[in-house]
Symmetry: C2
Subunit: 233 residues, 2 copies
């Protein structure tokens, strides 16, 4: 599932990146390129490329005569998909999941409102299809199938908003939804109320009722927030 993987460079990145985002090196720690190259048994060229990428994510900063210094978490590009993935795989996954869920609850209602105005006929159809798929798999422990349609639903909403910044959060939402189903305990079938809300959102968008689409989506994300409050204190 890892996007990187490709090439020697990517493999090193997939080890060093998670280590840094996990906080294994306190902010201000200095790493030397040569030592890292030795440790991973790669050439300095490869190691330099890795450092450059980490630098562009603002995880580290490279300065002459001093080395590669690890930056404090407040500097990190937390919207970088790679950084998000690394952090979700790490120890502070709960905190990360909460941050992202709060972000969702700010974005998605607005996106739904815009989607009601801008969605194409095709997107409206897709939306309805997703919602029906959710209904169809909402009972009898078909969690995986339900998840697929749930993710697709939210992706369509975000895309149909017509705002590229919203659209780009599709992967984040997918990650959050998948996290809820997989990692956290979720043996029970999804909340019927939530399923109904999705159907209603699809309706509202189809009927171009922006205010209703926004309000209904707000209820969905509020539910996700409360669910999180129940699981994690």
């Amino acid at each position: 599932m890892s996007t990187t993987g490709r090439g020697l460079h990517g493999r090193v990145l997939d080890i060093l990146g998670p280590e840094i985002t996990a906080g294994e090196y306190p902010p201000g720690s200095v790493l030397r390129t040569d030592e890292l190259a030795q440790r991973f048994d790669v050439s300095r060229s490869v190691m330099r490329e890795v450092v450059r990428v980490l630098e562009s994510m603002r995880l580290v900063e490279s300065r002459r005569r001093v080395g590669v210094t690890v930056l404090p978490a407040c500097e990190w590009n937390v919207y970088d998909p790679q950084v998000i993935r690394w952090r979700l795989a790490g120890a502070d996954r709960p905190r990360q999941l909460r941050s992202l869920t709060v972000l969702r609850s700010a974005i998605e209602p607005a996106a739904a409102g815009l989607a009601a105005r801008h969605a194409t006929a095709r997107q409206c159809a897709e939306l309805t299809e997703c919602a029906l798929g959710m209904v169809a798999h909402s009972r009898g422990h078909q969690l995986e199938e339900y998840l697929v349609h749930d993710v697709a639903f939210h992706r369509v909403i975000l895309t149909a908003s017509g705002n590229e910044m919203f659209a780009r959060l599709g992967d984040v939402v997918a990650e959050v939804l998948a996290g809820r189903t997989h990692h956290d305990v979720m043996f029970e079938d999804p909340d019927p109320a939530a399923v109904t809300l999705h159907v209603q959102v699809a309706e509202a968008v189809r009927e171009r009722d922006a205010a209703r689409a926004e309000e209904l989506t707000r209820q969905i994300t509020e539910g996700a927030l409360q669910e999180l409050d129940v699981l994690a204190p």
Copy 2:
């Protein structure tokens, strides 16, 4: 003002990055590392590092035997601060500014609501100070001083929300606000109504009135959106 600049590598990036985000190479175009190295008169090592960074931004994809192919805009990491800066400096600045303003209007009200709950006494004081600074410079063509306080105000709100994803949008908001003052025509003093709203938001946060802080901030961002509608069709 460029963050990169440092080093030969950064200079190349600051030329090639904007070129790509400006759409000078249609999606699917292939660039060869060697040719680029020749063009910029740098070694392949440097050029490879540049390509690696562009790849991590998902502006390009490097594949063996084919070259460095430019990816379509829907793949770009549009939340990368560097990408945002490049695009704001480019031709589709208006569209970009609109996307970011829409994003703002989704995020900031939510952030203000959270800030009302989580802001420290110090942050409340800073907020009030910023608001007063805005009032003080709201008349008599003191646009620059006004902007400084405006930016600071919104940064505090986003930080005080306690959500790192929100906090990280401080730079984006700063960029948008600065853009409004500098690039677009703005000879007149700021709208007195907006100034008052900022003061009231500071009040609401200090009084822990989350709903009011959220609603007032919504009015601020709505104003920004309408202002944009007036300037650009």
